[in-house]
Amino acid sequence: MHMHKFEKIWLTFGIGCLVVFLTVVGVSAFYLGNKPASCLTTINPEKVDTTKPFDKPGLHKVEGKEWDYELVFVASAFSYNPAKVEVPLGAKVKVIATTKDVVHGFEMAGTNINMMLEPGYVSEYTTTFDKAGEFLVVCNEYCGTGHHLMFSKIEVVK
């Protein structure tokens, strides 16, 4: 099997690009800690309301952790609890969310917070809220007739 010289050059260049892309993504994910949400904690989906921390949805100040606040959300068709929450600007926040029924999405539009909520699993993402303003949290995974009516609002305030 013969491969043309130009094709060798093209493939070397192409595969080289792929290696660079993967290296950048891999270093960012595993060295700098920018992994996509992949929490391994499970929960009984029928007992969400009585399981910590989901018994108290909303923003909580925490001490002695790498983050300053925990922002707890409970999703169910077709709403989030809390429906509106204020977060101080510059706070390092761990968002912790789960669903009581079907699969939902949790996307804070205009940010990198974007994770799936699946029954039986807890989803977490830690980030710093460094942009002030009102942000929309939308369900971006189909969950039923009211899917497009399912949202919450996060106000990042000074």
Partner: protein
């Protein structure tokens, strides 16, 4: 060469089965296209569905009709004809097998379609357990998948017969490619068959109470990504092996074409986690391993791009074109059989680049489940693949029905492709931009409590409705051409173009036909990518979910 005069025409008995597939495929296009138009109109906020029809009902119908019915029927019909044309007429046994497959798929389509129309299955074609559809919906889709196996078996039988009659010779390129795609499809659909047969069917029938959501999703996405390669490979068959003949050039390298198809077989399947990058319950290291494997499958696409443009340039220069890009001008732009797939090919450049972004691990957080993704696969599947399918049908349908592609229809075909391109530029372009702003996919019109961010999305949704309307016009045009070529075009002989390699002395290495080897590596890669994370998912499974009907 193997293409002796006796084999130049597809046997009329085989033609009949191929055409049966195409009638279902284009019927699905008509209905699915109408659903797509309605979706873009609803999302513009200026239109509401009448008679209590739900947005998510037409969304499910659009996905099932376009993503499963149109594609599977067209592909099976095309590959069945391509094998008949290049490896010889199917035996009566193979043909009977093909018909059984066709009827199984058609029956399944009708079962699932009925449940969608009755609003018993608005779960989208991606299932989304614990949403629980009517069991007939799941059973219907099982029929479609099992039917496609039986249908594909016909191609494999004829390929095997050719190999037996021609020991030591590499099989005809188009037959080889068709069989690779069929085999890849069979391996991939095992996942969706497993979740439907062992989880969703017993659960929807009430035999078991709960379903494990993550296992079901993982099995689905084991199938969900090779599914898109199953759509793409027939387009590559046309680009590699048919387009060179249409323009009057040669296949750049027969061996490299085969090698790229083998790479698709190996790397299309162990990559499903890149659809689950933002999901809980899956170890991030295993997600990244599958991201690496996903990038491997870009390599055969790079080979394909090189090979196609090498063919074009060599042909152009043989016609006396000079300069760096002179060859571009002498390509047969007035031939719909070339121009229509070419627009599809060109669209694959931005489409593929978008795909690399989606698969880039944490970068997926920016676009996951936003309408960017919808924009992405409307470039890959609904432009690159579908325009190539249209281009194929412009010569294949008259070839099978004993008619001619007339000048008028040829011209209409080119106009159709440009209408499609313009409509898609509006629709897919606006979807990409809106997705970057966070606009979610699979959602009816909503201002989300008059949120400032959501109000910014609305102009893009109006652009999508404009694009969707232009695309629907494109669907009407292609249906006009299809019906003309099937029933009304003048009788005559239309060529089934099959390209020849530039270097006939270079025989493809026989190792390419060593199925034990390639299936063995395919299985090894799948086991490597899935065994440990899958055991983790089962061992750490939370309590199962009961079913919900939230629509």
């Amino acid at each position: 060469m193997v293409n002796t005069a006796a084999k130049v025409k597809v046997d009329p008995r085989d033609a009949k089965l191929s055409m049966a597939h195409f009638f279902v495929a284009f019927g699905a296009l008509a209905l699915g296209g109408l659903m797509g138009l309605l979706q873009t109109l609803v999302r513009s906020g200026k239109f509401e569905l009448p008679w209590g029809i739900g947005y998510y009902q037409i969304l499910t119908a659009h996905g099932v009709l376009m993503g499963l019915v149109l594609t599977t029927f067209f592909i099976m019909g095309f590959q069945y004809a391509a094998v008949s044309r290049t490896a010889g007429t199917h035996s009566p046994a193979a043909r009977r097998t093909g018909w059984i497959g066709f009827w199984l798929m058609t029956a399944g389509t009708l079962m699932s379609g009925t449940m969608i129309l009755l609003n018993e299955a608005s779960v989208l074609y991606t299932f989304y357990a614990p949403l629980k559809a009517h069991w007939i919906f799941y059973l219907g889709l099982t029929f479609v998948v099992v039917g496609s196996w039986v249908d594909g078996a016909a191609q494999i039988m004829t390929y095997a017969k050719w190999r037996k009659n021609n020991p030591g010779k590499p099989s005809p390129l188009l037959s080889f490619m068709a069989v690779i795609n069929t085999v890849m499809w069979i391996v991939a659909t095992l996942g969706v068959a497993a979740t439907v047969l062992f989880q969703l069917l017993p659960w929807s029938l009430g035999l078991v109470d709960t379903v494990d959501v993550l296992i079901s999703r993982t099995l689905f996405w084991y199938f969900g990504h090779p599914l898109v390669y199953f759509w793409l490979l027939p387009a590559y068959m046309c680009w590699y092996a048919i387009i060179p003949k249409i323009i009057g050039g040669k296949i750049f390298s027969d061996s490299l074409a085969r090698l790229s198809f083998i790479l698709f077989l190996l790397f299309s399947i162990p990559v499903g986690f890149h659809h689950q990058l933002t999901e809980p319950g899956i170890d991030p290291a295993w997600k990244f391993i599958q991201v690496i494997l996903t990038f491997m499958v870009i390599i055969p696409s790079l080979m394909t791009a090189f090979s196609l443009f090498a063919t074009f340039e060599r042909y152009g220069r043989s016609k006396g074109a000079t300069g760096l890009f002179g060859w571009f001008k002498v390509l047969p732009w007035n031939d719909a059989r070339f121009t229509v797939p070419f627009i599809g090919m060109a669209s694959f450049i931005p489409a593929g680049a978008g795909g690399i972004i989606n698969a880039s691990n944490q970068m997926d957080q920016v676009v996951h489940n936003t309408i960017w993704v919808t924009g992405h696969f409307h470039l890959t599947a609904a432009t690159s693949v579908v325009l190539t399918f249209f281009g194929i049908s412009y010569w294949l349908v008259p070839h099978l029905t004993g008619r001619k592609l007339t000048k008028a229809m040829n011209k209409l075909g080119i106009i159709q492709a440009w209408v499609w391109f313009i409509g898609m530029a509006f629709m897919s372009g606006a979807m990409h931009f809106q997705g970057l702003l966070g606009g979610p996919r699979r959602s009816a019109f909503s201002t989300y409590g008059d949120s400032k961010q959501a109000l910014e999305w609305i102009p893009y949704q109006i652009a999508q409705a404009v694009g969707g309307t232009i695309l629907f016009l494109g669907i009407i045009l292609v249906l006009v051409i299809f019906i003309n070529l099937a029933f009304f075009a003048p009788k005559g002989e239309e060529e089934f173009p099959v390209g020849e390699a530039e270097n006939l002395q270079e025989k493809a290495p026989m190792v390419f036909e060593n199925w034990k080897l390639w299936l063995g590596i395919t299985a090894a890669l799948i086991l490597f990518a899935y065994t440990i994370p899958f055991i983790d998912i089962i061992q750490n499974a939370p309590p199962g979910s009961k079913g919900f009907k939230t629509w």
